[in-house]
């Protein structure tokens, strides 16, 4: 029976870049275990010989001509930015203190 422990949920939240507090971890871990239990029935349904389907349409490599098309102006592209500096997205520091 699959089960997700509280520690595993904390690890997954870390991978997904979400700061979950203790109360959220307590709440989510048992719920996720129940969900996993209910989807676990899927193992063994399809044999080795069944190919996977990732997409309903059998489309591959849709190309267009490599030509310049109308696009957003810098002002439009930056219009939703939390912070802007010199026509660029301004973000918090991305390196450690010592860098």
């Amino acid at each position: 029976m699959p089960e997700i422990t509280r520690d595993e949920v904390a690890h997954l939240a870390n991978l997904a870049r979400i700061d979950l507090d203790d109360a959220e971890l307590d709440h989510l871990a048992p719920q996720l275990s129940v969900i996993l239990e209910s989807v676990a029935s899927i193992s063994g349904v399809a044999g080795e010989d069944i190919p996977p389907t990732s997409h309903a349409l059998p489309l591959t490599n849709v190309f267009r001509e490599d030509v310049v098309r109308p696009s957003l102006t810098p002002e439009q592209a930056l219009s939703g930015a939390p912070a802007v500096d010199q026509q660029r997205f301004s973000v918090p520091r991305i390196l450690g203190e010592e860098a």
Binding site: R17, L28, V34, S41, A56, L57, L72, P92
Partner: protein, 512 residues
């Protein structure tokens, strides 16, 4: 002007063409209705809208009226107002996806669906409420509060597109756009007594539709009649070079199919009843209305056969692995850097980008979104990938094969749209599995990419609430959904002596 709002979109279009009403008058009548029933200050409202754009809608209406008086070319729905689910980008209008993480975001461009509505002259009344990022079956997961079912304000309007369905059911809009990833157009249609269509995957552009699960998402019509859905589908459908998964083939003639069906003759049409989609756990009143509808199809000349789709029992498990996997990847873009919410961790003015990202995603996402992101992250992690995501993709193949086999025996497949009528707000909010079961009958179509429609089949005896009848067709044969749907609708209208929504209680204090 209030009499106009109860007409169908097709009747409104005819009245506009005959000069009996202007688009500005129609649009104003709907804005008045929204003001009266949506978020009235003195009582509970439907709360179908997250944002109403009175000024913009009236300006678009005036332009339509001007084109009409100038004798310029007009679309079939020119001047008929519409509401748009808040998951589609609208230039200059807020687009939140029901999430705090996008609060205040104003897209700099239009989704293709929205651009086509504007080009066809449909004034956009506003943006409708939804479960956050379309994750849910009740619209209770909206960060901006639930939408209420116009049939009973204590009940859910379905989800994720509960806002679009409720707006149409409450006569706040004659037409709306929804999106359907696992049933989010069809299930709200079923529980509000309205019509909802999920087109063939790739039949309507996804450009500018904020993705939940790219391989499953599909935008489509939400209306009160089958013909109205066909008219709207023809406005929004067809190939779009901006969406690489858009099908480069012309749409079938959907309006002609709806009109053919409404004439009532289904001779030669083979209807397959899906054996696996009824029985234990299905509300008896929903099943009764379903069987009566099947009988009406027989009366119209259809040949009914029972078909078996043995892998549909695994569809929900496959869906709740594939969807979270795709969603966890899609929602990674909400990183607090380029648009949307940015939250600094408390007491850390020198926080790193990664710390800001974590704090923002914790503050900006609701419970259900977090559940699914973590589930998806789990399903995609090494060690579990083959057992879960890999298996789910194989089951997806088996479900498509079930459809192929069933469509050899029948031209369309039918089932009840949802296992129950609308449940009470709050009833299943903290029980994810109970909530997920609402989409039992609608999910297989998304996994296989085939089209489906939900048409009202009447009121369940136990609770007097609407039930839905689902019709599924092979990919690219959306016209079959419209033909059979319109035939059923015509037969039921005759039985009821008028539209089902005539039986809905008047919304307190507002006459329509």
């Amino acid at each position: 002007m209030s009499g106009w709002i109860r007409k169908t979109a097709s009747e409104m279009a005819d009245a506009l063409a005959a000069g009996e009403v202007t688009s500005v008058e129609l649009t104003q009548a709907h804005l008045d209705r929204i003001a009266a029933v949506d978020t009235p200050t003195d009582r509970r409202g439907v709360h179908a809208f997250l944002h109403v754009d009175a000024e913009g809608a009236l300006a678009q209406a005036a332009e339509s009226d001007a084109r009409r008086s100038a004798g310029s070319p007009l679309s079939a729905l020119d001047g008929v107002p519409i509401a748009v689910k808040d998951v589609l980008a609208t230039e200059g209008l807020p687009t939140t996806c029901g999430s705090k993480i996008l609060e205040g975001w104003i897209p700099p461009y239009d989704a293709t669906v929205v651009a086509r509505l504007k080009a066809a002259g449909l004034p956009i009344l506003g943006k409708t409420n939804m479960d956050e990022f379309a994750m849910g079956s009740s619209t209770e997961h909206s960060a901006y509060g639930a939408t209420h079912n116009p049939w009973d304000l204590d009940r859910i309007p379905g989800g994720s597109g509960g806002g679009s369905a409720a707006a149409v059911a409450a006569f706040e809009a004659p037409l709306a756009i929804g999106t359907d990833t696992g049933g989010s157009i069809r299930q709200p249609g079923a529980v509000t007594g309205t019509v909802g269509v999920k087109p063939t995957y790739g039949g309507v552009s996804r450009y500018g539709l904020v993705a939940l699960a790219n391989s499953l998402d599909q935008a489509g019509p939400v209306t009160r009649t089958v013909l109205d859905s066909a008219l709207l589908h023809e406005v929004i459908g067809g190939h779009d070079p901006m969406d690489s998964t858009s099908i480069d083939q012309p749409l079938p003639d959907l309006v002609a199919a709806a009109k053919q069906g409404a004439a009532g003759d289904l001779s030669g049409v083979r209807v397959g009843v899906i054996k696996e989609l009824s029985g234990d756990g299905w509300q008896p009143g929903v099943i009764t209305r379903f069987q009566e509808s099947v009988d009406l199809l027989v009366k119209a000349g259809a040949e009914v056969v029972e078909v078996s789709c043995p892998h549909f029992v695994h569809a929900m498990a496959a869906y709740y692995l594939i969807l979270p996997a795709e969603a966890s990847s899609n929602l990674a873009k909400f990183d607090a850097m380029r648009y949307g919410l940015r939250v600094w961790p408390e007491g850390k003015p020198d926080a790193s980008a990664e710390e800001v990202m974590r704090a923002t995603r914790d503050a900006g996402f609701g419970d259900e979104v977090k559940r699914r992101i973590i589930l998806g992250t789990y399903a995609l992690s090494s060690g579990y990938y083959d057992a879960y995501y890999g298996q789910a993709q194989k089951v997806r193949t088996l479900i498509s094969r079930d459809f192929e086999a069933a469509f050899e025996q029948a031209d369309v497949l039918v089932s009840p749209t949802a296992p129950t009528t609308a449940f009470k707000l709050g009833e299943k909010l903290d029980d994810p599995i109970a909530m997920y079961l609402n989409d039992l009958a609608t999910i297989p179509a998304n996994l296989a990419g085939v089209p489906g429609i939900s048409v009202p089949s009447g009121l369940a005896e136990e609770d007097g609430l609407p039930a839905g009848f689902q019709i599924l067709a092979p990919a690219l044969a959306d016209d079959r959904c419209y033909r059979v749907g319109a035939a059923l609708e015509a037969a039921l209208l005759e039985q009821w002596g008028g539209p089902l929504l005539d039986q809905a209680p008047a919304l307190n204090g507002a006459d329509a």
